[in-house]
């Protein structure tokens, strides 16, 4: 699993990247009450806003960690957005993207580097 400085995670399997937000991000947001996942077929570019997560207090953008095409969105999040707090780095994935450049994933932080980054915040 790889991480961005904006606290998204990516798990690459073949050319399909599963994307979510980190446990740190979920905790910082507080109780998640709404998730807007991207439309299937949408072309995304690394760094673009591609989903929205809302807590009681505010809406926050989720940025695409990699470029590619959205091939699947996690429909369960619309009925049970609280999954993002309960299991952010597994069941509460946001979307799957067919990556155009797997090297983008390799360039992201691994867990140790991400933990070290969190320690600087």
């Amino acid at each position: 699993m790889r991480f961005t400085k904006d606290h998204e995670w990516v798990e690459l399997s073949g050319d399909i990247a599963t994307i979510g937000i980190s446990a740190y991000a979920a905790n910082a947001l507080g109780d998640v009450v709404f998730v807007e996942t991207p439309e299937i077929g949408k072309a995304v570019k690394a760094g673009d806003g591609f989903a929205v997560v809302e807590s009681v207090k505010a809406a926050s953008d989720v940025y695409a960690p990699v470029s590619g095409e959205v091939v699947e969105a996690n429909g369960a999040l619309s009925d049970t957005p609280e999954m993002v707090n309960q299991d952010p780095e597994k069941d509460a994935w946001f979307a799957k993207v067919r990556v155009s450049d797997p090297a983008e994933v390799e360039a992201l932080m691994d867990r140790d580097a991400y933990e070290a980054f969190l320690a600087t915040l």
């Binding site: 507080g30 109780d31 009450v33 709404f34 807007e36 929205v52 809302e54 807590s55 009681v56 207090k57 505010a58 809406a59």
Partner: protein, 387 residues
């Protein structure tokens, strides 16, 4: 900027409790504790919560020369405060609190506030006032100018103001202040805590029964800790305070009202006393009269929102898609488990059940007008009627 932030006396206690602190009205305030906004909100609806609201602006306004005739002295101090707003304050009975607003010459709101007359007869000629944090310095100046040397303003914002709110608040507070059980909604009394004077009022901004208690800084930590030692009480941050007042349909100054919004538009007509309306002797009276006589173009309404929460600034559209208004406060209602909002719409569109939409991230979402409060108030009302 962070260097300019003020802290309340309870700052270290909040940090020790694990609070997430953030700037609010130039104070470093607890936004939430480790339980989080959702759990804190529900705790207040079911048990009792303690809120540090020491950023607010409590003060006393005291007549410089009292006659000793209690009613005459009260009338004299009330007359000073009445020059700033549209509500009758002369008629305040001893121990009674009224909600009112400060108006500019356009009849729009400079602030909203609570004004009370002391219960003790000998203290007549004094008002206890609590204004919002954001504009308190200017509010103090307005009252001092209105007093014109005839009364003295004594700030009390160096003290600690703690709200205890929720269905268990009365039982919790009665263990510390048995006399306070006699208070009805919107009344107050002076008591003592560890030998220091305390102003305790049965009031609040959550829609629940509860109290707001002004304590001296030296005993504040002891009082706060005593409250929290009661298993029915949890500390509650400003995040849940906001979602609680939203569900209660209560406007928040700076969001649902400001210097371009009249109290009639804000749905605060009760702050305009009939006697004052007849006299028209307050700033902006002509506009208030015009709006009360059918000339109102927009009014605050409640919305049940489908889909994503509609936040402050989201546009409101009618069935044809035309933009007719704007959301002034909106978010997720923990009690209802759905998004709710309030905002300005034309009076013709305020009938409950009216189908509107809110524009969130460029997309129209269904929204239905509903009567406020969204969650019923549970104030402890006694016989004393307010006008």
């Amino acid at each position: 900027m962070a260097d300019d932030l003020k802290s309340t006396v309870l700052h270290d206690a909040h940090v020790a409790l694990g609070a997430r602190m953030a700037p609010f009205a130039s104070y470093n305030m607890p936004i939430q504790y480790p339980d989080g906004i959702m759990a804190e909100h529900k705790w207040v609806r079911e048990n009792a919560g303690a809120f540090d609201v020491s950023h607010m602006g409590p003060f006393f306004l005291t007549l410089n020369a009292r006659s000793g005739d209690h009613e005459a002295d009260h009338a004299a101090i009330a007359a000073i405060a009445e020059t700033l707003g549209p509500r009758d304050l002369t008629g305040l009975k001893p121990g009674q609190i009224r909600y009112t607003v400060l108006l500019n010459e356009d009849g729009c709101m400079i602030d909203d506030l609570m004004v009370a007359r002391p219960l003790i007869p000998e203290r007549a000629g004094m008002l206890y006032v609590v204004v919002n944090a954001g504009g308190k310095e200017r509010d103090f100046s307005l009252f001092e100018a209105a007093a014109a040397g005839k009364a003295t303003l004594t700030r009390a914002d160096d003290r600690v103001l703690i709200a205890v709110q929720g269905p268990q608040a009365a039982a919790v507070v009665a263990e510390i202040f048995p006399e306070a059980a006699a208070l009805g909604f919107m009344t107050l009394m002076r008591l003592e805590y560890e030998g220091e004077g305390v102003v305790i009022s049965r009031s609040g901004y959550t829609g629940e029964d509860g109290f707001e208690i002004l304590v001296m800084p030296g005993v504040a930590l002891s009082f706060w800790n005593q409250l929290l030692s009661d298993p029915r009480v949890k500390p509650i941050g400003l995040g849940a305070r906001d979602s609680l007042r939203l569900e209660a349909g209560l406007p928040l100054y700076g969001h649902d009202a400001d210097e371009t919004v009249s109290p009639i538009e804000a749905g605060l007509g009760m702050a305009v006393s009939p006697s004052r309306r007849r006299k028209g002797d307050f700033p902006g009276a002509a506009r208030i009269e015009r709006e009360l006589s059918g000339g109102l173009t927009r009014v605050r309404a409640g919305l049940l929102v489908e889909g994503a929460p509609a936040r402050e600034g989201a546009e409101i559209a009618d069935a044809s898609g035309a933009v007719v208004g704007i959301v002034t406060s909106g978010g997720f209602s923990p009690s209802l488990g759905r998004p709710i909002a309030m905002g300005f719409v034309p009076p013709a569109l305020t009938e409950p059940g009216t189908k509107l939409s809110v524009i969130v991230r460029g997309k129209a979402q269904a929204a239905t007008v509903t009567a406020m409060p969204f969650v019923p108030h549970r104030y402890y009302r006694k016989a004393l009627e307010t006008v």
